[in-house]
Amino acid sequence: MMDTPFSVANPCVKEALAHLSPSLHGKDSALIKVLACIFSNGHMLLEDLPGLGKTTLAIAVARALGLDFGRIQCTNDLLPTDVTGLNIFKTEKGEFEFHPGPIFNNLVLVDEINRATPKTQSALLEAMGEEQATIDGRTYRLPRPFFVIATQNPVEHSGTFPLPESQMDRFMMKISIGYPPRDAEREILRAGSQKAELENISALFSPKEILRIQAGIERDIQVSEKILDYMLTLTEKTRSSLGIAAGISTRGAMSLLQLAKTLAWMQNRDYVIPEDVKAMAPDVLLHRLQMRQGSEAAKRETLDAIFAEVPVIL
């Protein structure tokens, strides 16, 4: 697998990167992944310590892409209706009126998702999966495009409800931003808070355009039989590997392929090469693998070993 920085050749992605990087020091790689996830019509789980710029990243992306932005701060007393919205009886009209919750936005940041109770989590995840919310028996379609960035704190455990493995599968990617490099951090420290600047980021895209790009990727990027074979062999290996309790699901493989296609598009190719698959694999596959025993590091090693085993050209 590769951890080399992605090169981007597609002009609109290039432009977006150039547009955003002044306000997001040293987060290029994460930014590209977020964009890839959006163009692949998937959701993202950001696992990081507080204070590393998760919110900044989400707001900046929402601005640049011209998306409505909603934010949910999860606590253990958060109710499902706090997420989805609720019907309120209007006495003057004599009827119920629907008040949409924060989920009715194009881009929703769900902070510390593991602090919400399972009931609320499941309401949220249902909305993510079905792109709709059901309130009092009535179903409301969520706006399109719809994209969730959920964050969770990997260290804090008390009073949390960790996401069950089955729910992890709903996130297309799970990434972490990590600490910024020294030079980037210096820049951040020098510039100080840039909350105001974030407000000033102009929109480069519109929701319609994003839908068009998503459809374009789906339609135009070729996946040859060889790539399918490659991916099938990979998933089979994860399923038959001794150390792994549950391998990659079909949804996982679909997500990986979708992201590989988007990456190919970002690099101005109209066909997928194995490197696209490899580049996206860690962020797509690691949180889906369930090991029999061992740590996160062992997971990574196992996956690396599988990738080192499967020949690229058959």
Binding site: M2, T4, Q222, S224, K226, I227, R269, D270, Y271, V272, I273, P274, E275, K278, F307, A308, E309, V310, P311, V312, I313
Partner: protein, 656 residues
């Protein structure tokens, strides 16, 4: 740079393909010419010329439907003639016809492959019918042309209008050489392993008005006018080389003459008295299967040791059964002498039998003989009659063919083969009162120095005279036939090669074909001995040990043949699935490997390229990687030019 300026001469792929297919057709024609009736071969030639004209002057090809209908009709006619004794010939005829049809058509890639298969079919049929040395030429020729055609037709399918430079052509031929070298074991296996029809499985070809030379246990004059040379193997005799005398191989004694034919009497004789001063020669003889019933051994055979031997006496040994369907191995001990002293009780009856002539037989010959031998003693009479034939010549053509053949031979034609010479001499001796008989067997043979054995072919079949020498009380061998038969001395390189191939064939038949129960027991015995006493068995019983080696070489040879077949199968499979882009990729890997960069199996090309530290090399390799990926993953048509030019650049970088 300069090569780009001067346009190199290019050859269209299609014409090379046509040439190689034509070669297959021509070879098939020659194979057919020997074995198939003339009408078919000439018809084939006509169709070939028509095909050539169509190709050369771009006449329209005849419509496929018409061709197919005609083919079906003619095939029906050919196959209707199939009889039990006429299977392979009919098969060859139909193969020839189908090749001709394929040549007439506007060929598609699969048609080329079909011609290759038909041509190979011809080779197999030819191998079934003929044991000629030419088989090697046909087999190799067809094999080479078939390999070339297969390779080219695969190419033709992808790039029908491709032009090849002389250099590419050279590389192609080099590659074919390699493939063909791998195919060689199959050719050799076909040559040695094919059941060539010495046994009457497929029926011998016979042509009217002619016969081929071969051993026979009766001699009849005047039946045929032409005798064809026949290089079919009769037997091989492992023994010391006889220098300078020509070996005579004794078969059967013909002592009865009925005026037209010489026959063997059914009398048995006692053992002859061996001449103790003459050298003894031991032979190990491997007799090819055939319709004979006689054991052959060097004149004069003292004993024949083998299975089912009946001793007729007088140096004649018969097999229990009249026909021998399988190869026989036996040992013989002979005394190298031209005189044979019979046991005393046989002398008188033999003498009596060997003076008999039909009443009033050829009176003018009797007059001539009487004049020639008047007043001479027995020995002088024999010499005088021998001298009489000095102005006669040897011939196998234009033989007198009538009831009075002997008369014509002596008084008019004065040429004939051994049967005429020996008959005439024996008759004249009997007229002169000297008991005489004929012996039928073989004379001469080619000595294979590499294997220490004589190769005796059917064309070595011979008849000579034994005359009674009263003074010595012995039968004396006299051969009136002038040399001229099998006198080829001075072997060409081709013959030397053939001798080596024959040695291989001999070893094959000795070790593989004659590998039987006895050999197995011998091997088991040796094995047991080794296990029981390994130290002792190593040195003293060297013979047994060697024999074990011989015996073991059989399974080893079989394993080797299997391995060769397996390798061939693998190669053919690899050949059929190997795509041009994979060849280019292998070349790329090789070239990059030379620069110190090896791609792992699990590594993508772009990933690999990113690893290349040298920016110059990376820039040169980038077009290859891009173009390859575009084709391999992007489904674009293969851009060989970009790939090749990128490869060339990397190679040139290596040279700098």
């Amino acid at each position: 740079m300069s090569s780009a300026a001067i346009p190199a001469k290019k050859f269209p792929l299609k014409s090379i393909l046509n040439a190689s297919v034509s070669l297959i057709a021509v070879l098939s024609f020659f194979m057919g010419r020997e074995l198939v009736s003339a009408g078919y071969t000439w018809g084939f030639l006509g169709l070939m010329l028509a095909a050539f004209a169509i190709e050369r002057f771009e006449f329209p090809h005849p419509p496929r439907l018409l061709i197919n209908l005609v083919t079906v009709a003619v095939l029906g006619a050919v196959l209707g003639r199939v009889r039990r004794s006429y299977v392979v010939e009919a098969l060859m005829e139909s193969l020839l016809l189908m090749i001709a049809v394929k040549m007439l058509e506007d060929r598609k890639p699969r048609d080329y492959v079909q011609v290759v298969l038909l041509g190979l079919g011809m080779v197999v049929c030819y191998a079934l019918l003929s044991a000629e040395k030419d088989f090697i030429i046909y087999c190799f020729g067809t094999g080479l042309a078939a390999t070339l055609t297969l390779l080219l037709s695969a190419w033709f399918e992808k790039e029908p209008s491709a032009l090849l430079t002389a250099r590419e052509l050279g590389q192609l031929f080099a590659r074919i050489g390699v493939f063909f070298a791998a195919m060689l074991p199959l050719c050799l296996a076909l040559f040695f392993g094919m059941p060539r029809t010495t046994a009457p499985i497929f029926g011998m070809r016979s042509q009217f008005g002619s016969a081929s030379i071969g051993f026979s246990d009766q001699v009849r004059l005047g039946d045929v006018s032409v005798i064809q040379a026949n290089s079919r193997l009769a037997f091989r005799a492992e023994m010391v080389k006889l220098e300078p005398q020509t070996p005579y191989w004794r078969g059967v004694v013909l002592d009865i003459f009925d005026g037209r034919a010489w026959l063997a009497s059914r009398n048995t004789r006692g053992p002859f008295i061996p001449d103790t001063s003459a050298p003894r020669v031991e032979q190990e003889i491997s007799l090819e299967p055939g319709n004979r019933g006689h054991f052959f051994a060097l004149d004069q055979p003292l004993a024949v040791i083998g299975a089912d031997v009946i001793v007729d006496g007088g140096g004649v040994f018969r097999h229990r059964s009249q026909t021998m369907g399988r190869r026989l191995q036996y040992r013989a001990v002979s005394i190298l002498s031209s005189r044979m002293r019979p046991s005393p009780e046989d002398i008188e009856p033999d003498k009596r039998r060997c003076l008999q002539l039909p009443a009033n037989f050829m009176p003018h010959l009797r007059v001539l003989t009487a004049g020639m031998t008047a007043g001479l003693d027995d020995r002088e009479k024999i010499d005088a009659i021998m001298r009489f034939f000095s102005d006669f010549s040897y011939s196998t053509e234009g033989l007198p063919s009538a009831w009075d053949a002997l008369d014509r031979f002596i008084f008019a034609d004065k040429r004939g083969n051994c049967e005429y010479f020996a008959s005439a001499m024996a008759v004249m001796l009997r007229m002169a009162g000297v008991p005489a008989r004929m012996v039928s067997g073989y004379r001469g043979g080619i000595y294979n120095e590499a294997g220490n054995y004589y190769i005796v072919q059917e064309q070595n079949a011979h008849v000579w005279v034994e005359a009674w020498d009263e003074g010595a009380a012995a039968w004396v061998r006299r051969d009136p036939t002038p040399p001229g038969q099998g006198a080829g001395s001075g072997l060409s390189a081709y013959d030397t090669l053939a001798l080596y191939l024959d040695l291989l064939d001999y070893q094959w038949s000795k070790l593989i074909v004659a590998y039987n129960w006895e050999t197995q027991m011998e091997m088991l015995q040796s094995l047991r001995e080794i296990i029981r006493n390994p130290r002792a068995s190593l040195t003293p019983t060297r013979d047994g040990f060697l024999r074990l080696g011989d015996a073991l070489s059989v399974p080893i040879a079989i394993l080797g043949a299997l391995a060769a077949c397996g390798a061939l199968f693998y190669l053919v499979r690899a050949l059929s699935t190997r795509r041009p882009e994979m060849a280019l990729l292998a070349e790329f890997s090789r070239v990059m490997g030379r620069r110190g960069y090896r791609r792992r199996e699990s590594e993508g090309l772009s990933e690999f390229l990113a690893r290349v530290a040298d920016p110059h090399l990376r820039a040169l390799a980038l077009p290859f990687v891009r173009s390859f990926e575009e084709h391999y993953y992007g489904g674009r048509s293969l851009n060989s030019e970009t790939l090749r030019s990128s490869l060339e650049k990397i190679k040139r970088l290596g040279k700098r």
